[in-house]
């Protein structure tokens, strides 16, 4: 007789079923993880390990929150904030990966690696969480395309306060005036000959981006852009602008001033709140209000794609709050959060509208500066450093001092240009800024690359990052 009083036959059946069930879990094409309430992994299936192992610096997989720390720093916070005894903590949260951590060795190439993971977290009780992980890179790519189509339909179907029809020449200069332009923008016919960036707020578009949109209209048949626009009197309105190439523009190559594109500029101010709320939910960091990782990597990829078509300098700054762990230890997480919120405000105040400012890690921020040189970006980074160092953050009766370190990297454009390289170089410069005493800016130089990769080979240690919480 077998243990538990079962017959040998029943025991054999149970064993076979157990094995089949085991294999069912081994082969399930989604990641399943059960963890303690603090993220400690209790049970895990193979797909989870396939997705998580490439993110591990030390070859261990002990805690789910720790495993995702670099790419989803908010998880611990999300769980801590979830006060109900059970229920869905997050459902299909998108986690954007980047591969700077993978570039340490020749064989460690990011091929095959996912770009975006989806994570759902279910709180079972006060002790346990269940997590579902899957690679949704391909779905995200398709969704992005669908969103563009949605925006296009939105532009057509949305209720319109008014619209202007603007003819643009080959270079994007206003080629004709009509009274719809006067009605929507307040410009008179002296706007003729000026590039369509005249309708944008200062710093909201670069000369290169003016041409990018024309090239995209050439390639796709249209280009759509939603955002703030400027009237002649300086007041702003919310607009949707669609640029389309005119069909007959190639007939007369001599007439370079004639209209080559048509721009339909619609005032959709009354829809603005709804659009902004939707945008914020999807693309903003919940704590600081700057862009989140998803928005950053989407914007950076788009800018670099454009850069490959029409090379121009592009700069990237990685910014890290110094000794952030000490601030958390001394003032608690609410104090740390207050510091991060203030840092977000400093960042938004320092950079141009066209720059993409994002929180990409616990206390790590990134800024992509289109059409900026290394020197230009370093100057702005230095201005930020001084601004942060000169102020304190009021919290709970205390004044918290803060400094930041930053690494700057740039490319003058060209075909061999990619985001991974730029991120890696800015990271190496940031490493140098930290190693050289913090509260400073370092620009990437080829020498940094060599010294850093050397130290990589010796101890494989990550840069002296101040511990996240």
């Amino acid at each position: 007789m077998s243990p538990g009083g079962l017959s040998d036959l029943a025991t054999g059946q149970l064993a076979a079923e157990h094995e089949a069930l085991m294999q069912f879990l081994y082969l399930a094409p989604v990641g399943l993880v059960q963890t303690g309430i603090d993220g400690e992994i209790l049970m895990i299936n193979p797909i989870s390990a396939q997705l998580l192992m490439p993110l591990q610096r030390d070859g261990n997989l002990v805690n789910l929150f720790e495993a995702l720390r670099d790419v989803a720093p908010e998880l611990r916070h999300l769980c801590a904030m979830f006060t109900r005894s059970n229920g869905m903590i997050c459902d299909g949260l998108h986690i954007h990966l980047n591969h700077t951590g993978y570039t340490g060795g020749g064989a460690l190439r990011p091929r095959r690696s996912p770009q975006v993971l989806s994570l759902s977290l279910l709180k079972l009780d006060g002790e346990r969480l269940m997590a579902v992980l899957s690679d949704v890179s391909e779905q995200v790519r398709r969704e992005r395309q669908l969103r563009q189509n949605d925006a296009w339909l939105n532009a057509l179907l949305t209720s319109i306060t008014d619209y202007a029809l603007v003819g643009l020449d080959r270079e994007g200069r206003v080629s004709e005036w009509n009274d719809t332009i006067g009605r929507v923008t307040g410009h008179s016919d002296d706007v003729i000959g000026r590039p369509y960036s005249v309708f944008y707020p200062v710093d909201a578009i670069t000369d290169e981006q003016v041409h990018d949109r024309l090239r995209e209209a050439d390639q796709n048949g249209w280009n759509l852009d939603e955002g703030a626009r400027l009237r002649a009197d300086g007041s702003q309105f919310w607009a949707s602008a669609m640029i389309s190439p005119l069909p007959d523009r190639d007939l007369d190559p001599e007439d370079s001033d004639g209209p080559a594109y048509c721009m339909v500029l619609r005032d959709i101010s009354d829809k603005r709140d709804a659009i902004e709320t939707r945008r914020k939910n999807a693309f903003c960091d919940h704590l600081t209000g700057v862009a989140n990782r998803r928005a950053f990597f989407e914007a950076a990829e788009l800018e670099l794609q454009r850069n490959r078509r029409a090379p121009r300098p592009t700069a990237l700054i990685l910014i890290d709050a110094d000794h952030f762990k000490c601030i958390n230890d001394r003032h608690g997480h609410p104090g740390g959060d207050a510091v991060l919120r203030q840092l977000g405000l400093f960042l938004s105040a320092t950079f141009r509208q066209v720059d993409v400012v994002a929180r990409i890690g616990g206390e790590e921020f990134a800024v992509l500066l289109p059409s900026s040189t290394l020197e230009g970006a370093a100057t702005v980074a230095e201005r930020l450093r001084q601004l942060v160092a000169a102020q304190t953050v009021a919290f709970d009766g205390a004044r918290i001092g803060l400094t930041v370190s930053a690494g700057v990297a740039a490319s003058d454009g060209g075909s061999d240009f990619d985001l991974d390289t730029l991120m890696k170089r800015a990271d190496q410069a940031l490493y140098a800024a930290k190693a050289n005493g913090r509260n400073r800016i370092e620009c990437w130089t080829p020498a940094l690359s060599q010294s850093q990769s050397l130290s990589d080979r010796i101890d494989r240690s990550p840069r002296p990052r101040d511990e996240t919480r």
Partner: protein, 130 residues
């Protein structure tokens, strides 16, 4: 023929010695052995590995390793290295620290990856880390 029990996870030039062992001898090794052929189908699977994973050999033999047996190895840290070695017609003998999900528990292991040009069978060897 060497004494089988003398073979350990870290024995040098292990691939050719494994090739000479029959199934019973393979079962006596104290580390997990998974051998797979040119189509990545599993053709050797020893008892140590079978016990650790909770799967008997018939469920595993003949199945494609990286999709139906051990999808957790299907990334650039393991599968990619075998592909790279194949593409470059070069030998592979690397040991990497890894975490396997054996019976749904995360288990720290060392993996030794063995391949040689012209060799019919490639191997993933598994040893638990403390």
């Amino acid at each position: 023929m060497n004494n089988i029990t003398a073979l350990s996870f870290s024995t040098p030039a292990l691939l050719e010695q494994l090739a000479q062992l029959n199934a019973d001898q393979l079962d006596q090794l104290d580390f997990g052995v998974i051998g797979f052929d040119a189509d990545t189908n599993v053709c050797r699977y020893n008892r140590t590995e079978s016990d650790a994973a909770g799967l008997t050999a018939p469920r595993v033999l003949g199945q494609p390793l990286f999709t139906n047996v051990a999808p957790c190895l299907n990334n650039f840290m393991v599968a990619q290295r075998f592909e790279d070695a194949e593409d470059g017609a070069s030998a592979l003998d690397d040991t990497v620290d890894y975490v396997l999900t054996l019976r749904m528990r995360p288990i720290k292991v060392a993996l030794r990856l063995l391949a040689e040009p012209g060799s019919a069978v490639r191997y993933v060897l598994v040893q638990r880390r403390p």
